[in-house]
Symmetry: D3
Subunit: 131 residues, 6 copies
């Protein structure tokens, strides 16, 4: 790992923490156990290169990501990470449910329903942690 990558890496870790709190450290560790290179890339490209950009604030970025992951429909684990991240950067539960509802228009009701149930699992887990 060259020094310049460490700089991207540090920036990536900082953004990852700003976005997800502790949640995605786990994901990164789980990836690193299989492929350290892919784990490094996961920190550096999405977070160090993209989320670190100005132009959108983190709340706006999470609106975009949550919408896209509902629409894609094949990435429920990542969707749940970003529901937690959305709450972490200041979206309310109501706003997240509203994004999911809107996706019924663009990606159909099955995608929206699966998003709704997955979001509820995240909310329930947060409630359990808070209790």
């Amino acid at each position: 790992m060259e020094i310049q990558n460490e700089t991207r890496h540090a920036r990536g870790l900082r953004l990852l923490s700003a976005v997800d709190g502790r949640g995605s450290e786990e994901v990164v560790a789980k990836v690193a156990a299989i492929s350290p290179d892919f784990a490094r890339c996961l920190v550096e490209f999405p977070f160090g290169d993209v989320y670190a950009r100005s132009g959108l604030d983190l709340k706006q970025r999470e609106i975009a990501t949550i919408a896209a992951l509902v629409a894609l429909g094949n990435a429920l684990p990542q969707f749940k990470v970003h529901v937690a991240a959305g709450l972490h950067v200041g979206l309310t539960r109501g706003e997240i449910l509203e994004i999911i509802f809107q996706m019924a228009v663009y990606a159909g009701f099955p995608a929206a329903l699966n998003g709704l149930f997955a979001a509820q699992e995240v909310f329930t887990a947060e409630d359990a942690k808070a209790a």
Copy 2:
């Protein structure tokens, strides 16, 4: 058409106009020429029922829709309508490009590139109208 549907319809037309300016009147007219029922539904459900809800402002709604349409990748005509709508409700070109860029992470570079070129077509058309 029952009176209660006209109420949803009026609300839908108001939202449609708030979101798209004149752009989607054309789409509705084009749909109505094929299926008046589907045109009415297009006004009433996405706009009268969903966009009319509180919980997200129109700018946030367009961030979600633009992100989803890039990610889905199979709806470039609708994507272009919503790029124009995004500008209409106050997103900047830079913010729209930023949403598209972010989608490279979630939906891959081909989807993002197709979004980028389609957005540019909208920007160019707006410039031509402004000239």
Copy 3:
């Protein structure tokens, strides 16, 4: 909730019951526990507005829905609801398997195989209820 929505709502509930028997009451209740508005919309738009239309009978509508949900491939819970609904409106198990088989041509073998296994789960559950 305005009176006109209750009318759509009542029509939606009637269609939902015609299509799914008791099956989707559960889904609606599960959705309502998270978002009452989305639950109402789920009754009113797909069932009150779309399934209630003339032009296709319920058996033809379920052929279309089952085919689409196999092809989309990311909505197995909804697919299973509609396999049960298909049986409820008069499709035979053989006809449902035939739709799934045909989807191997249009959406590929993995989508068809996942549909086949999910349909079998529904058939097995129906057998258990009948026993």
Copy 4:
């Protein structure tokens, strides 16, 4: 080409003609000019093996295929072939529009709108031929 394949091939050609009239002969010829093996396979597997099966009639098969191709959203040329095929096996224009409308529920409005416009192109071409 072995004799047994010719049997599948003959059955495939018979079904292809029953489904599409002259329309897909063109498609097969266009494919054969690039890959004769793929053209033969296109006749033999989808038509000789699948459409030739009993269990669904051709009208039901076209309902399933039209629904799936709207939902998949990335196959408009094939969708248009099957809109023409649907008319050929006895679906009305109204029934085809109804299938497309229903797909707004399962695959979202953009997919349904693209299907609607593509179907209209087929209807217009049929009118021009009839004139």
Copy 5:
């Protein structure tokens, strides 16, 4: 079943065994328990007609299939069968992880991450069998 189909069938079984070792016999048996016709077709078309062709060796075919199944993202059970098949025809674990990594570029990080975790499950199961 006609004699000519048995020939395709025998060729399909031979290829299936060359590709998957014992793994997909299970899949075929599981399919046959639901639909014997679909099971026969699963042997004959993908394996008897396609994998049996010259033009690509089995290692190249598995690179293509593994890449496509990561990208499609809605077929994890089939993806896992083909990770095992890839190992069986001589791809290394490192090569399989590399294909998955590359898919982050074309289908996005969520699809790649889901592929990574599913591949790891296959590797772990192979280790357990070898122990």
Copy 6:
């Protein structure tokens, strides 16, 4: 642009040239005219970070990419770039057609047919250049 990025950038440009010959310089320039940052990222992440990795040779990488882009089905412009790239790194036309044929199994015939026609456009353009 920091020095370390130039290193990734230089590596990206080298790989891009190894993969695509002159073809994707055009794509990069077209992207840079809209978003210089996205153009730089397109060079650095897919080519500088991913294609530059050892573990698969460029021919194997193009097999994976061509397969994925056929399967995704919503990225024909990028698919055509990679058909040209595949030829550039040593795949034969027959091998490319074979990958596309195989995708009929995994992503369905419409996706494979669209890939076939798009590949033929690339072959025809190459013939015209060679003439």
